[in-house]
Symmetry: none
Subunit: 402 residues, 2 copies
């Protein structure tokens, strides 16, 4: 079975085009009432509307109809990687989320400090939700643990949450959680699900043995449980599958990490959209592809704040000229999923997508909204096809067959 990357590997060609993928996280929305407008339709977006007039619109399906993605599958799809084929474990995502540079030999684990009672049963699965200040020295203590043949890293995330990484060749990533998901029972031993992960389970058991000793006097955080034990999936790089020197300009670590996973260079993004646009301009000559990530359309949606999400979309619109002034060959504005303020959560609804390029089949519309996207020239497509559309519009794909 030929997959899309087999095709793009074979057909890719180089030119001096520039592609910008601007992801307004959780962009898609819902009207609050029948007959109403979505957040994007409500927002006053003169620049996006002008861009829509010289672009093609469509709706992207992040995974499959009805499936709501997390940030991981949402972004992998936009980067052209089938999110059902490349699944990212919880531990790996946590590692990415604190900017830990996970390599192919790493097993990443989400840890939770917990409280053990005198008989060794879990009394509190979150160690009384200790503060980050209390957790940090404990993480530093655990980071000192030594296991022969294995590099051990322990990093604080926030409050009772930490990341543990084991680095060694040939460690499998298929080990069950040790969190029993309830109190009054002891933590579980790490149990391997395949032969390749037996050594991982042994390493985890040894780590936990030493951790129990070192944390003995640190109640309420006198132990930890492990969840989402996972390896970074083997993912081909953007350079290999698309021939693109790619860069990520993202403020939040999780999105930098996802970009690093597919081989993008992660640039210093500053803190604001203006910082990001300045970075884009500065890096313009050094890369072919730029992924820019804007978080606040999602977080305002998660908060259920329709008005604030509208305002954040308008901020994206206001920054747009800084991007269009660079004359990208292809400029895409989309989201990794919908986050309707009405639902206060990610959702499955297809995501408004705008692709502007010289060789678009223009849509004769004067606005960028779900209604226009529904009947747009890009149609409704699985997000994983966005990159082949971008490459095509950038003139970076040869003809298939003679």
């Amino acid at each position: 079975m030929t997959d899309l990357h087999d095709l793009t590997r074979r057909l890719q060609k180089s030119n001096d085009s520039r592609i910008v993928l601007l992801v307004a996280d959780g962009l898609g929305g819902l009207p609050l009432e029948p007959g109403g407008k979505t957040e994007l339709e409500t927002a006053r977006t003169p620049h996006l509307d002008a861009l829509a007039a010289r672009g093609s619109l469509g709706l992207s399906i992040p995974v499959l109809p009805g499936i709501t993605p997390g940030s991981g599958p949402g972004h992998l799809g936009l980067f052209g990687y089938d999110p059902l084929r490349y699944q990212i474990g919880r531990g790996v995502l946590e590692g990415l989320g604190i900017d830990f540079d996970l390599g192919p030999d790493d097993v990443a684990i989400r840890g939770n400090f917990c409280t053990l009672d005198e008989s060794g049963n879990i009394a509190d699965r979150r160690a009384g939700r200790i503060s980050t200040e209390i957790a940090r020295p404990l993480c530093e203590k655990l980071d000192q643990i030594e296991i022969p043949g294995v590099e051990v890293f322990v990093r604080c995330v926030k409050e009772y949450r930490l990341v543990v990484v084991f680095r060694a060749p040939d460690l499998g990533g298929e080990v069950d959680d040790t969190d029993p998901q309830r109190t009054g029972v002891p933590p579980l031993d790490p149990h391997p699900r395949d032969d390749a992960s037996k050594r991982t389970a042994e390493v985890a058991a040894e780590f936990l043995r030493q951790a129990r000793e070192r944390l003995a006097e640190d109640a309420p955080a006198n132990f930890l449980t492990m969840r989402g034990i996972a390896k970074r999936p083997a993912i081909p790089t953007c350079e290999e599958v698309y021939g693109l020197r790619s860069a990520a300009i993202a403020v939040y670590p999780m999105y930098r990490g996802l970009a690093r996973l597919v081989g993008m260079d992660v640039l210093d993004a500053g803190q604001t959209l203006d910082d990001q646009c300045a970075r884009l301009k500065a890096a313009w000559n050094d890369h072919d592809f730029f992924f820019m990530h804007f978080k606040y359309t999602d977080s305002t949606g998660e908060d259920g704040n329709f008005e604030k999400k509208v305002q954040k979309i308008e901020e994206v619109d206001a920054a747009l000229p800084q991007i269009t002034n660079l004359n990208p060959t292809v400029l895409i504005v989309t989201g990794d999923h919908s986050t309707p303020a009405k639902m206060r959560s990610h959702s499955w609804h297809p995501v408004p997508t705008l692709l502007a390029a010289e060789n678009c089949r223009f849509d004769r519309v004067d606005a960028f909204g779900e209604a226009q996207c529904k009947t747009g020239s890009l149609g409704r497509f699985e997000a994983k096809y966005l990159m082949s559309l971008a490459l095509a519009h950038a003139g970076r794909l040869e003809k298939f067959g003679a």
Copy 2:
């Protein structure tokens, strides 16, 4: 490769939502002339139109573009089962069509009474289309046949058509038809296509040997041929893949049988739409998902009676308040395929679909018709995705990935 059911198994969650799938069989249609209206567009449907205003519309593709489905694949698709993966043999469909409760050890066969001449060649492949009254005692006679180690069931269908079922462990379902499809030649012997079906072929041969003796004096129905020898495919239940306690409210046996195949509880449906609605109301607290089937939009289409099909659609519309009054979380109105009166047959045309729920991306339309569905928010989707959309709108799916 992860398929949709792998996802729904993993992501399913429980709540107290109610989903109603109302299937107006063969709902999709065609205008009689260019510029004209379809049956659905012609019908006066105030309740469906009001529902459309607070729902999302779309067009479902029963199997693949251009492929016209029978009732089996049409319904399996709506139930979320890939109709190309789960194929139902003719014998099994015939068994379902007479309410025979086929189990996993059963091989079902569609039989045709035929007439043999004195030299044993087929003189009439349908035994002069004998009446059901004549066929019934012959079927009862064949039902007495005994084969060691095998339970044998013979049931009358209609006129010259009957169903034969062999029940025993380890009977394969891969045996060729014995109907040579022409007269003047003898019936074929049952021929197995794989090793697992050798015993089935032997059982069939023994059955036919005894049948020939028992029917010797019953010309014109002095023998039978066998077609569509098949086992029930192994299909996971709705409860397993969706976490839904499901019920079918269908008047016709075939549709009850298809529902039973995917593990639905088959409720007494009475004879009319009003009976079905009353049953729905009575069963409301005992199930999460209700499949209601209305046959007459299809049969009037098959008759080529445009006006009558319009009238049947209006009957569905008139019954709709009995359903909406129950406040289902998700209400879907669609068909298993199109049956345009103009064609007097099933067709491949995508099927108008209306899904109404709180978290719809509303379509700002005031009618339910093919034209509105063409640009609706659900887009054009393979029917097998209808169930994931239903589950999503019912809040019954967790997020995929973190």
